[in-house]
């Protein structure tokens, strides 16, 4: 029997499409998506710092970009991704210590992650607008 045939016909383990979406699964997916988003979001951080290092005109230009309504929208999303990924990370620390594996605990932490990340984001933006 040809080896190539065996390889081509090997069964694949089922992936996302066979599972009903549940909260802990959604948080896992969001952790990865926010991580990837932050990865590309660092371009904005580098742009901001390099512009500031290039002189006052470039600094003002970067400020205008981030201060526009679209810039603020992107930064709002950036803040949420940062908060969500951080809370997700804290959840991983708890699991690393061997705790929080019970179903109720895992579900509670999943809810806390999403509620916490949204609340923290809104809170940070309220603080941001208050101290201006």
């Amino acid at each position: 029997m040809a080896n190539a045939d065996l390889k081509a016909n090997r069964p694949l383990s089922p992936h996302l499409q066979v599972y009903r979406l549940i909260l802990t699964m959604l948080m896992s997916i969001l952790h990865r998506i926010t991580g990837a988003g932050l990865y590309f979001g660092t371009v904005l951080v580098a742009f901001w710092l390099v512009a500031a290092a290039s002189g006052p005109e470039y600094y003002e230009f970067a400020n205008a970009v981030f201060g526009s309504w679209f810039g603020r929208l992107v930064l709002f999303g950036f803040t949420w991704a940062l908060m969500h990924h951080m809370l997700g990370g804290l959840r991983h620390f708890i699991w690393d210590m061997g705790r929080g594996f019970k179903l109720e605990a895992a579900n509670w932490m999943a809810k806390a992650t999403i509620i916490g990340s949204v609340s923290l984001t809104i809170l940070l933006w309220i603080i941001g607008y208050m101290v201006r």
Partner: protein, 127 residues
Amino acid sequence: MTDMRTPLGRVRGLGSAKDGTMHFWRQRVTAVANVFLITFFVFLIISLQGADYQTFVATMQNPLISVLMLLVILVGCYHMKLGMQVIIEDYVHSEGMKLMALMGNIFFSSFIALASAVAVLKISFGG
């Protein structure tokens, strides 16, 4: 000849990636550091929003803030390099594409880290 090494010593470094749990460990160490560093970063950004150039430069020239900003950049970029590596290893299956993506990940993370770090150093040294 009798092998005097411990069972752990015999298998160490023989995993598929030849580096055991190093990737996981570094991922977690940078994650712990990031909890503090990113909290600092977020509050720095909030306090710097709308600041004029002089105020911005004066803030960044504070040695403690320069050092923390460098840590935010370097630790953050190392953490994201590790994370993206796992994503690539999970989803890119063709050997050639995987190699390209893994290299691109290192190039991108290094470039972002160094561009940001040089910018911070230039500002803090008053260049």
